[in-house]
């Protein structure tokens, strides 16, 4: 095993593959010694499909679980297409964990609003596990999740379980639905009015397409922008803040993010040049 997990990919073996939806799957990855470096919710690994390329993928598993990583991946390009063909027993190169986590300590004692869009629920899942493992440290919690259509809803069984554990405050909506769908229809921001507690003392964690982050954060007018955190995405290569590919203002998303406070990025989110 290499001493440095950050610069050189380590061979992790796929020990389980879960097909979440038609184009999204979760890989369980075990390190050679079955004790991969620990991570915090919101961090990511660089996953390498040998001979194809390397991409950043957030952890989607329980951070208290020390034997393996879970990564939930949507097929969008060459690397993810290659990984979608992997089976149990195949190997993936792993570097990491990288990035700043969700602000766990600073959020303790506060109410929490979690807003996820599409595949954005995956990086937030590790935080939800953390929150459920430390439930007494947080106030009221509401999870708002928007997907494109019912077939693209991730972690459907867990959403039901979380609903029970979070006093029914789990709200799911889809942008487009077939007539048979009996759930909510409308963009994720339409769920904000369902939150039954005041947001004055809340923190909000948002993950999803950047345009969704922009519109959703703008509607959280009751929450101070210092208490709203966005998981930002940029093209990453080195993941250690050297190559500059993921520069965003004076931050490198790989090193200073991917979780950034809304107060820091708010003036620049609608700048096309950035």
């Amino acid at each position: 095993m290499p001493k440095n997990y950050f610069l050189q990919p380590t061979f992790f073996r796929i020990t389980q593959k879960i097909q979440e939806t038609a184009d999204t799957f979760t890989l369980q990855l075990a390190s050679p010694d079955n004790t991969p470096p620990s991570f915090l919710p919101g961090q990511f690994n660089m996953l390498y499909a040998f001979g194809v390329g390397e991409i950043p993928v957030s952890m989607s598993g329980d951070p208290s679980r020390s034997d393996s990583y879970l990564h939930t991946i949507k097929v969008v390009g060459d690397v993810t297409t290659a990984m979608s063909r992997y089976e149990v027993g195949d190997s993936v190169g792993v570097r990491g964990p990288f990035g700043n986590p969700w602000p766990l300590e600073d959020s303790k004692g506060k109410d929490v609003v979690i807003i996820a869009g599409g595949i954005g629920l995956a990086p937030l899942r590790s935080f939800i596990y953390y929150l459920l493992n430390h439930r007494k440290d947080f106030g009221q919690v509401a999870l708002l999740y928007g997907a494109r259509e019912p077939d693209e809803i991730l972690f459907t069984n867990e959403l039901k379980e979380w609903k029970q554990k979070l006093d029914n405050q789990v709200y799911v909506t889809v942008d487009f639905a077939r007539p048979q769908w009996s759930g909510n229809v409308g963009v994720v921001t339409t769920l904000l009015s369902r939150i039954p507690f005041p947001l004055d003392d809340a923190v909000a964690f948002l993950c999803g397409p950047e345009i969704m982050l922009r519109f959703a954060a703008a509607e959280l007018t009751q929450i101070q922008s210092d208490n709203i955190y966005l998981a930002m995405e940029r093209n990453m290569k080195c993941a250690i803040g050297h190559c500059g590919r993921c520069q965003y203002l004076d931050n490198f998303i790989c090193k200073d993010g991917s979780v950034l406070p809304y107060s820091k990025v708010k003036p620049f989110l609608s700048k096309k040049e950035i």
Partner: protein
């Protein structure tokens, strides 16, 4: 404060209006309950009322040939249904259906329009509230058509 004034005060849409205004609006209010599957409004038909949802679930729908009834948005407690009563020709633009037993405060549109016309100092803040909801719904509809979760969004 009268009975409907109190109910209006409990609903997020009107709760920041002064008590006197809520009592004034209360004269246009009735309670209305819709059963599962009951139509609240039908596209093209007169929109005499709007509704404040207290409990339940409602869908805004339209019919698309070959696709059937298509839901555009779901509404729930704290939401309002309808602004077609505000502007001519005062007809519903979409179908509205209860998809759960739904308790509402129904407000007579003609009655409230008259109160707003007769007393613009009262009517202007009321109209601003509706404008705010329209902006929210328009923004939501615009994001919806952007199809932001599609992996290959249209160029």
């Amino acid at each position: 404060m009268n009975h409907f004034g109190k109910l209006l005060k409990e609903h997020p849409f009107f709760q920041d209006l002064p008590y006197d205004d809520l009592d004034f609006i209360a004269g246009c209010c009735t309670n209305q309950v819709f059963k599962l599957g009951e139509m609240i409004g039908r596209e093209g038909e007169p929109a005499d009322h709007f509704f404040l949802i207290r409990e339940g679930k409602v869908v805004i729908q339209t019919f698309i040939p070959d696709r059937g009834e298509t839901t555009i948005q779901t509404l729930g407690p704290g939401d309002i249904i309808g602004w077609s009563w505000l502007f001519p020709p005062y007809n519903w633009n979409f179908d509205v259906k209860a998809v759960a037993a739904t308790r509402t405060i129904a407000i007579d549109g003609k009655c409230l329009r008259k109160k707003c016309d007769d007393n613009p100092v009262f009517g202007y803040p009321v109209m601003k509230k509706f404008a705010q909801v329209m902006i929210q719904r328009l923004r939501a509809a615009r994001i919806q058509v952007l199809d932001v979760y599609h992996k290959n969004p249209p160029a």
